[in-house]
């Protein structure tokens, strides 16, 4: 099966092959010809590395150069230094996009972490139909933003929507939902939760199952009730996961675009215009490549900053706790 006698082609390791060369030969050859090992190595990793670095590191550096220029893609590019960044600071539209993005993040991240935790605790038991419950909660995860957008527009339509119909049945006042400036972002957050709950849940579920059973048993024997066991034993054990999930969801939240595009397109009256939506409009609607790139770099910096702050803060707190 393995073509035992076939002569080695790419890299020769012929030790102890029947009728082959003596042991120790391999290292000799490697020593003499390191380029051969490099050739093999880069033969394996080269294609993928080239594609990934070519489509990320190189464009990332180029984006920075672009952010220092004024360029519409056709005329001559003009070097303007930090003018694009300065422009962002005084741009009210960008300011509004930042506020909207923060608003969504504050709505979405705590809710998604708490919901994930709650669902994981609820699903982490062997009761009847548990498979059905899990499937029900996980299946929205595979639905795309485009489909979720269409679905959201349908369910929350102020004129014919099912949600307003439910309100009507209960005798509650009708709402404008996506057409209401103060509610549109809330609707987007709710539907994001619907689609994303599976992610936080599955991470917490894995973490819950990693908690040693003896720990819970010990707490129970020491007289702790379920509530106390959870908050005093389980919750502290989960804190690394909580930090991770919070960072991950925050990064996702400040990059919100898809669901905005497929529901409100930034409206009503810019109430759901996020940073990425702003960037998309500037770069691909009005062809301000430089200005858009500057906004992208601000977003990147914010992402890095948030990650660093949370990691440093959690390290510090852990040090104080122990």
């Amino acid at each position: 099966m393995l073509n035992a006698r076939r002569a080695p082609v790419l890299e020769s390791v012929t030790t102890a092959a029947p009728g082959g060369k003596p042991r120790g030969r391999e290292s000799d050859r490697r020593g003499r010809r390191p380029w051969r090992a490099s050739l093999t190595g880069w033969g394996f990793v080269g294609p993928a590395t080239l594609i990934i670095l070519g489509l990320s590191i190189f464009p990332a550096l180029w984006a920075f150069v672009l952010s220092l220029q004024n360029w519409d893609g056709f005329s001559e590019a003009q070097f303007v230094g930090g003018a694009n960044y300065a422009g962002l600071v005084s741009d009210d539209e960008f300011g509004k996009a930042v506020v909207n993005t923060l608003g969504f993040t504050l709505l979405f991240v705590p809710a998604s972490v708490l919901l994930g935790l709650f669902l994981a605790v609820a699903l982490n038991r062997s009761i009847r139909f548990i498979g059905i419950y899990r499937t029900a909660i996980f299946v929205p995860f595979v639905v795309s933003a485009a489909s979720t957008g269409v679905l959201t527009t349908y369910l929350f339509s102020p004129q014919y929507g099912v949600v307003n119909n439910v309100l009507r049945v209960f005798g509650l006042p009708q709402q404008g939902w996506l057409e209401d400036q103060s509610q549109a972002m809330v609707v987007i957050a709710i539907m994001s939760l619907w689609g994303q709950a599976a992610f936080t849940t599955v991470i917490y579920l894995a973490a819950l199952q990693d908690i040693p059973g003896e720990l819970l048993e010990a707490a129970r024997i020491d007289g702790a009730n379920h509530w106390q066991t959870f908050w005093r034993v389980v919750w502290p054990q989960l804190s690394p996961v909580t930090i991770f999930v919070a960072i991950w969801q925050t990064i996702g939240a400040i990059q919100l675009f898809d669901l905005v595009y497929t529901t409100t397109r930034g409206g009503p009256l810019d109430a759901t215009k996020t940073i990425v939506y702003f960037l998309y409009e500037k770069a691909f609607k009005t062809l301000q490549f430089g200005y858009g790139s500057a906004a992208a770099y601000v977003l990147f910096a914010a992402t890095l900053l948030i990650t660093i702050i949370v990691v440093v803060y959690s390290r510090k707190r852990n040090l104080e706790a122990f």
Binding site: N3, A16, F44, A48, I57, A63, F129, V139, Y261, F289
Partner: protein, 297 residues
């Protein structure tokens, strides 16, 4: 600390002693109050799907009346008929299958090769290369959109399927996943293969790759989900509706077929059903993928 250990020892013996009494009652489970919590949650999570299915087989008029009937007065497939006759949905579906299929195949080949190289082979520049690839995971796609758009425009890749495929040919996550997997394999098998005279490439294809099926399944699902559902990049790169992906077509309906809810929902069913069925079929692998992309990513 010592008291808990002591109590643990005591209770474990106590536990062992009481265990045989517990065993007979195992088959009939007691009613759990968690059902009361979980049933409404499950219904809430499934409701949008139910609404989507119902709307796709409802008469168009009933979808624009208020109050809408909770159940359509009669079933009709008008929405599907309109979808398949008036729109290019079949073509878009085909495009998406081509994009995702190419992405999955290419990721499996390129990422396993690279993952194996980074895990097992020793060569100049290995650490730097791997570090750079990991670093790219931190770069948000929004930062790359503008230069990549300009780059693809220069290369003449825009407005074709190639624009949607190329960014998915290899992923940093895929390399990381495969490398972690290969590191966990014992090296003895490969050494045995080499002793028997196999080349590195033969060892890789005949010994290592067949063992990597679980990791490849994870990689395939990750790539499928990402490439099938991708919206923002095709939105920017493809303006020609012959090269639309399914997601792009669906998103485009929002402006072109605003109130044709039967058609819109039929389109939604066509766009989501393949992934939902696949999820139900391979739920275990999906969950493993989600956990891995979360915990290790």
């Amino acid at each position: 600390m010592s008291t808990t250990v002591l109590s643990e020892v005591l209770t474990s013996s106590e536990y062992v002693a009481t265990r045989p009494v517990d065993i007979p009652r195992r088959p009939k489970r007691r009613f759990s109050w968690w059902h009361v919590v979980l049933i409404p949650i499950a219904i809430l999570f499934l409701l949008p799907f139910v609404q989507m299915m119902l709307a796709s087989v409802s008469p168009e008029k009933e979808l624009v009346t208020f109050p809408p009937p909770f159940v359509p007065s009669h079933l009709t497939f008008d929405g599907y008929v309109k979808l398949f006759t008036q729109t290019d949905v079949v073509r878009w579906l085909g495009n998406t299958v081509i994009v995702s299929g190419t992405a999955i195949l290419s990721n499996i080949v390129l990422c396993s090769l690279a993952g194996y190289g980074f895990a097992r082979l020793k060569f100049a520049g290995r650490s730097v290369g791997f570090f750079l690839i990991l670093a790219t995971i931190m770069i948000p796609t929004q930062l790359l959109m503008i230069p990549t758009y300009i780059l693809f425009a220069t290369l003449g890749l825009l407005d074709g399927l190639g624009a949607a495929i190329v960014p998915w040919l290899a992923t940093a996550f895929g390399i990381f996943l495969m490398r972690q997997f290969f590191l966990s394999l014992p090296a003895e098998l490969e050494e045995a293969g080499m002793i028997d005279g196999c080349t590195r490439l033969q060892v890789f294809f005949r010994i290592v790759l067949p063992l990597a099926r679980p990791a490849i399944a994870t990689l395939a699902i990750f790539t499928l989900l990402g490439s099938w559902n991708d919206l923002v990049w095709p939105l920017i790169a493809i303006n020609n509706d012959q090269a639309f992906t399914l997601q792009l077509g669906i998103a485009n309906f929002q402006s072109t077929r605003r109130t044709q809810w039967d058609l819109l929902m039929a389109g939604n069913v066509v766009a989501t059903l393949p992934l939902i069925l696949f999820f139900l079929f391979a739920q275990r692998q999906f969950m493993a993928t989600m956990t891995f992309s979360g915990i290790k990513g």
